[in-house]
Symmetry: C2
Subunit: 335 residues, 2 copies
């Protein structure tokens, strides 16, 4: 059997905002699986803002994408040929093999998912790396406690949506920001946040003062930039910031906050993290998130685009200011 | 007995760099001590950079100086009249009653110091709040471990000098910055740091690369500003920053670092603290610091100025860029 797979490779590193010329489509011939390996056909692949960072020239501590190699990322697929009894044909698996239609891999690099509990794409979203990123930031990094007040920037994004809901499940007061009326409506009516505001057409400082006159206990930072500055103003003494991303500066550098003295005066803690350090916490997330997802209490909103060809545009959209997507961006493949 | 005391009050809050018009001298009549109180004559008072921050308009979480009230701060004095047998006449005490010649206070607000182990002024320096500030930042906040590499900005200042020496006592590689040739010589020959550089006449980035090609484990930040930005570049993954002060921006705001994405990518932790939360750690500091101070292995360098009238100039000097003092600034009173 000679299986072909189309894949998307990094063609060049972007300077500033990336364009289509950063991506190259190639068709490769896959080998037959060797013992201990399986052939997986992908059903859906994940598109995430953090991929922008991995497109840059790299240092050793961040595994950057390599030029000429396929873009890595979360993917859910089905085993279609197996040389290992642990993963028979038909098994659904999660992998980090990213933007390709199919691949051959050792079974140890794959994680079996239970598609009777939730649809495959949910394992790219709130039950997968996206949800875990929210979970880890809130509870492991920022040590959010029940009943506290938390501000979540980019709250309508995939990670933000999960964070808003997990915080609500813990009886927290949730303030979230987004960039469009649609997203604000989604935050208010579907995610039930306590206060949502548009960070573009008004000053985040004013909103945080109105929404949390007693101050913020935690800021879940997806943006850096002016919203981080506003949050530093609004945090209470001993407040914590989970530094998850910096979408405000992914394409162009943004000035740093001018009020870092708050960190000293208010004894704040700012801590960055990368979800791959925390995969061991996934079972705890699944235990808490699967039941409400099954009953519809937890929302896993997705934006689907179809076909591998759509992936670059989906990523550029996500990065481009004014992107219209809400929730998790998933590319569906005609598996 | 009607005892008089001269004291220095905050006359007005400074805009930008403070001037002599921020201070007002007043003579007050002290009451006789009531039961449970003592009358203390100060021998020396502390002058510290953090006092600048307390001169600003305040919020509740920072105890700001009040206009028309004496400036608070560390002081060492001797009991000269007592209404409590726990503190008989002649006892040496540390207080936070600040810039005044004498005061009456309840014994519970005073801490007895042992002047047979070290001279009184040492309890304002390396054995007092100054030393504790260094100790807490390195070991409690940044969790510095033996053998790690640490960068200490304003290393020749009072807190910085203590931090350099405590880190050396723990076999760390110590990199320190300062602003003059004298201070660099002091860092190298007296404090025995491994690498010292002038942050003004060269790029801190280049020095940190040369001094720590493997990167920094910890940055003890007294300055914020460009040195914080350079340290964020140089920290290793999981590096820690103890945010102790921001002298670069005490008088005028400085732009924030443009590279906060390092916090995410390298999983850094930045944490502010205020030493008054950590007074319980003083006995641990004394246990470690008194013996080497007695043998001269630990240096408690002091700059003395004489008389209460000298205090404002001493503070302005300390804050003014280009200040020539090295080590702990102490005002000696003619007690």
């Amino acid at each position: 059997m000679a299986t072909q797979s189309r894949e998307i490779r990094l063609a060049r590193r972007p300077q500033g905002e990336p364009g289509f010329d950063c991506f190259a489509f190639t068709t490769v011939n896959l080998p037959d699986p060797a013992p201990g390996e399986v052939l997986v056909q992908n059903l859906c692949i994940s598109v995430d803002p953090y991929m922008r960072g991995r497109m840059n020239e790299g240092k050793s501590y961040v595994p950057q994408f390599e030029i000429g190699k396929p873009l890595e990322g979360g993917a859910v697929g089905r085993v279609i040929a197996s040389q290992d009894e642990k993963l028979p044909v038909g098994t659904f698996v999660f992998s980090m093999y990213g933007w390709r239609e199919a691949f051959v891999a050792s079974v140890s690099s794959l994680r079996v998912i239970d598609t009777t509990l939730a649809p495959p794409s949910a394992y790219l979203g709130i039950l997968g790396v996206t949800g875990l990123t929210a979970w880890v930031g809130l509870f492991s990094v920022a040590k959010l406690k029940d009943g506290e007040t938390v501000f979540i920037s980019a709250g309508a994004g995939a990670v933000g949506s999960a964070a808003c809901q997990f915080a609500k499940m813990h009886d927290c007061r949730v303030i979230a920001s987004a960039s469009s009326a649609d997203k604000l409506a989604y935050l208010r009516s579907e995610l039930k946040v306590d206060y949502a505001f548009n960070y573009r057409d008004s000053d985040p400082r004013d909103h945080l003062r109105d929404a949390a006159p007693e101050g913020l206990n935690v800021y879940f930072d997806n943006t850096q930039g002016p919203q981080l500055e506003a949050a530093l103003d609004a945090l209470v003494p001993y407040g914590r910031v989970a530094m998850c991303g910096g979408i405000a500066g992914y394409n162009v550098p943004v000035p740093g906050p001018r009020n870092l003295m708050h960190i000293v005066r208010k004894r704040l803690r700012l801590e960055g993290y990368i979800v791959s350090d925390h995969f061991a916490e996934l079972p705890a997330l699944l235990a808490e998130a699967v039941p409400p997802l099954a009953t519809g209490k937890l929302v896993n909103r997705e934006t689907f685009v179809d076909g591998l060809d759509s992936a670059p545009a989906a990523l550029l959209d996500l990065l481009h200011s004014g992107a219209g997507n809400i929730g998790k961006m998933v590319v569906r493949l005609s598996g």
